[in-house]
């Protein structure tokens, strides 16, 4: 790299560009790396956010499996519960849970952008929409958890 002081003003700094034609310079296009989202914090977060969809798929499949186990009778249900309690499975599911919470947070934070609510003529401030979503999350969670615990109890 040359500092400004050593920079020769008039001599071309390198050999002429073979692809350049007078009056028609060659515009330069940066190539995009395949893993363009690696090494940029925000883009990596974006890809992680998108990949939480895999956790949603997994959760759906797990729920289905659990339903199958319930349908097959008490033994298979017990076996399934036993599998769930195995340490590595539990560890995996704790990780899944964290991922799902990440999904929820990113989803709810973005939702007010798409949703424009109005009361009369005035637009509900996005902040209020956001708070509303979080309240809904708390309510639904309480309902789901409460119901399940009630069934258990």
């Amino acid at each position: 790299m040359k500092g400004a002081s050593e920079w020769d003003r008039h001599a071309p700094s390198s050999a002429p560009n073979p692809r350049h034609t007078r009056y028609h310079p060659r515009w330069h296009r940066e190539r995009i790396p395949i893993f363009w989202w690696v090494g940029h914090r925000r883009y990596t977060l974006f890809i992680l956010r998108e990949l939480t969809a895999v956790l949603v798929l997994y959760s759906g499949l797990l729920l289905l499996a659990q339903l199958v186990a319930i349908g097959r009778g008490p033994e298979s249900y017990q076996a399934f519960q036993g599998w769930l309690a195995e340490p590595w499975v539990l560890a995996l599911h704790t990780f899944v849970l964290l991922g799902l919470i990440f999904h929820t947070v990113t989803w709810l934070n973005l939702a007010p952008k798409a949703l424009v609510l109005r009361v009369g003529k005035i637009r509900v401030p996005p902040r209020a929409v956001l708070v509303g979503h979080y309240l809904a999350w708390i309510a639904v969670s309480a309902l789901v958890a409460g119901a399940l615990v009630w069934v258990a109890g």
Partner: protein, 246 residues
């Protein structure tokens, strides 16, 4: 202030095939913007450095560049906020580079026209009949989207535009929404043809960076998602009432 090293991406198409970095020592003063530092280079050190600027007050939209990896308006970015050096200055991503820090924005200009960014009316009033009435609340509905200065930082920040150059892009969609939401406008149907394509709103996967970098709080990401909602509502209506015009 200590002298600051600027590491500038140079590309001189007559001489070189690939861009290279060049470093300059700049004796920056307090309250200098990155643009002031570049001007110092151009005026005192090296007249060959090329870049665009005009208003140096953040409204003409011409001085966007990538500084330390982030797209910014260089006339509104303090040098002290991007220290410690070397401060890396590159052209905006996603645009072909003509020379040094100058990108070719022809593609953007063409897209801007495609969303029909003008007031479309079924029936036009003559000026003698006075203004179209519009309450302050109605102005507020689209005001935010009318603040775009076409600086294209949002395009530079959006990986989708880089990956899929046909994507019409954040600012153009925000501008379409600016007119769609204007109570005086009746052109929503006409703009739908462009926006409801894959290269319209649907290519956007809501990365959201466009709104993060926008210097004027236009929130193009919001505009796009809002449009997705309206397009969906429109689609549901057309399914329920097939007789309606497309």
């Amino acid at each position: 202030m200590e002298p600051v090293t600027l590491k500038v991406l140079r590309y001189r198409p007559e001489e070189e095939v690939e861009p290279t970095y060049q470093e300059y020592e700049v004796p920056c003063q307090d309250n200098w913007m990155v643009l002031d530092a570049l001007n110092h280079v151009k005026e005192r050190l090296d007249g060959t450095l090329s870049y665009r600027w005009a208003c140096r007050m953040g409204v003409c939209g011409s001085c966007g560049m990538t500084v330390n990896g982030t797209p910014v308006l260089t006339c509104a970015t303090y040098v002290e906020d991007v220290l410690p050096g070397p401060v890396v200055v590159e052209p905006l991503r996603g645009f072909p580079v003509i020379r040094d820090l100058v990108g070719d924005i022809t593609d953007f200009m063409e897209k801007l026209g495609r969303v029909k960014p003008w007031l479309i009316r079924d029936e036009k009033k003559s000026p003698d009949e006075g203004e179209y009435l519009q309450t302050p609340e109605e102005v507020a509905d689209y005001k935010q989207y009318s603040m775009c200065i076409n600086c294209m930082l949002c395009y530079a920040a959006c990986p989708i535009y880089e990956l899929e150059p046909d994507f019409i892009g954040p600012a153009a969609i925000a501008l379409a929404q600016r007119y769609n939401l204007d109570s005086r406008d009746q052109g929503e149907e006409e703009r739908m043809d462009v926006l409801s394509q894959h290269d319209g709103v649907w290519a956007c996967t809501f990365i959201g960076e466009c709104s993060v970098v926008c210097p004027k709080n236009v929130d193009p990401a919001g505009a796009i998602q809002r449009y997705k909602v309206s397009a969906t509502v429109d689609w549901v209506r057309s399914v329920l009432m097939p007789g309606r015009k497309p």
